[in-house]
Symmetry: C2
Subunit: 337 residues, 2 copies
């Protein structure tokens, strides 16, 4: 476990300042105190005060999502949730689950037996056993990227996928592209469905024809790209929008291995803006999801549900980030000649 | 202006306890302190502490909406916003606006000149001049029941109208009704458009035919009902869903004046659950919007925008409230024979 000294070193401040921050002393600024607390949570430091209220426990269930390293998609979501929950003196357990785990016990039973006041679901698919139990759960439950109709105990937190995909289409259209492919993620996911519809809507609003050969579903991992990108290239795609950054990395590699340059021949857009996206070669044009704030919103939504305020949906705006994996179509045409 | 004594009388506690609550003393509970503060805000009491930070100012612009009396729709929305904002030491001005006011000065200019850090818009129509300026505003702005695409400075707060209308349709269908009319509110309103689409979707999902003679747009006032209800009755409606409680009150009166009993002959459903709805004769079956929490959510959204967290949308769940203005179709059929 991290020590006070580790926190002091990371922040470049004195041990006594860290100690003041952790103990709520009045002679440091609120901003500094918050930074100390946030860093303590991030580094896994726990004070007695943080441990004292044993009965105030929340949990985050994670499925199908990497979250243990800062570069991974789920890391900041879980960190943001914990940072916000800690301010209200909640203890937070992170529990990886799989289909077998969900079959062992009903969701509500598991929560009551383990004394959790509420949960945040991250990375669940539509057909997951516990998801099918949520329409009638009485446990306050916030869902990242999933929605349950009409149950006042369940809320949805996510990014506005329609605006996200629309901003990507908008961008490549403004660069002159018309043969636009969409490499989507896993089926059985609400987000995949939303992004699919968003792509269709956006192409229609730009008066562009959607070609079935230019749409495919992979999984949200880079390896998936190699099964679909060759077809896109044969079908004449000049721009490929991917449903996450990992798919975009795979797409760029696959294009290159087949002699296409990115962005000169093919423009590629990602989704998420992982910490690696700006260091990729070329730096990735992508749609940013603010994962720290998504995690915090997950906590705020859950805390509202616990207090009987029935938040149905909290959506954050995506932010379009233009880097160097996209370029005007004109360059490409010259190249082909 | 209310005095400390007025607050003490209202709450049935001593003047010294009120004083402790207002001054943040430690020897009263947090719940009691919050109740004192909330009541002080509601009664218009202002302490020096509440006034001191002159630069921290927000405003609520109100158009087309009654809000001055507790029975009126806007009252709790504004109260909830103020209660939440006060906890963060904001001063809140409530400013009624009309089309002329909006033509006098650009929105951004008005805000900067008057030193407001952000605004909450309540009751605006889609074609309002200031609404048309919002796609490019740089001022943090939360909208009640309105949505602006792609501007990270603007957020939308409201009730899920789709679930609200669906729960009303669901209810009357479960009572055996098939000839279901929908009396909607004013055109040029996003909420009106959402409720219209929600009605069409819900009727389709219940495999019922939508008859154009059973749909109409009035205004959100009770008087409006008399222009449309006679047509609904001639067209054989047995249930009438109204887009707010005022329209439902007018609908019930109009039915009666034409010899139809409510609920025996015609079932009527409202929307909002105004404080008067449970005292109406018959007590109104309606869809509740939690207006205090909508106001608070308006503040939380605005506060997030001010801190550069781009919340796009916060939706609360509606709650279906079954009272006595609806009844099974079987009764009506007997009566007609």
């Amino acid at each position: 476990m991290a020590t006070i000294k580790d926190i002091a070193n990371r922040l470049g401040i004195s041990v006594s300042t860290v100690s003041k921050g952790l103990n709520g002393a009045n002679d440091i600024s609120e901003e500094l105190r918050q930074m100390v607390l946030d860093t303590a949570v991030e580094m896994g430091y726990t004070t007695k005060r943080m441990k004292k209220e044993e009965h105030k426990k929340l949990c985050i269930f994670v499925e199908n999502m990497d979250y243990e390293k800062p570069n991974q998609f789920g890391y900041d979501i879980i960190l943001g949730f914990k940072q916000a929950a800690y301010r209200d003196n909640w203890d937070v357990a992170v529990i990886p689950v799989n289909p077998t785990f969900q079959m062992m016990e009903r969701y509500d039973t598991y929560m009551l037996k383990n004394g959790f006041s509420g949960a945040f679901f991250v990375g669940f698919a539509l057909h997951d056993e516990w998801m099918t139990q949520l329409p009638t759960t009485t446990i306050p439950t916030a869902l990242f990227d999933n929605f349950i109709k009409k149950n006042p105990n369940v809320g949805y937190v996510g990014t506005d996928n329609f605006e996200g995909i629309d901003s990507a289409v908008d961008h490549v259209v403004s660069l002159g592209h018309k043969r636009i492919a969409f490499l989507n993620g896993s089926l059985n996911s609400m987000v995949t469905e939303q992004r699919n519809q968003a792509f269709l809507d956006s192409m229609e609003s730009h008066e562009l024809t959607v070609d079935e050969d230019l749409m495919a579903n992979g999984f949200y991992v880079s390896d998936s790209a190699k099964y679909h990108v060759p077809n896109f290239l044969s079908a004449g795609a000049t721009a490929i929008i991917c449903a996450n950054d990992l798919l975009a990395y795979g797409t760029i590699e696959e294009c290159r291995s087949r002699g296409f340059r990115v962005p000169e021949d093919i423009s590629v857009v990602g989704f998420d803006d992982l910490p690696t996206a700006s260091h990729f070669s070329p730096p990735l044009t992508t749609v940013r999801q603010d994962r720290i704030e998504l995690g915090k919103s997950g906590y705020y939504t859950l805390n509202s549900l616990i207090h009987h305020v029935s938040i149905s949906k909290t959506l954050l705006r995506p932010q379009f980030i233009e880097r160097e994996s996209t370029s005007p179509l004109i360059n490409k045409k010259k190249k082909i000649k």
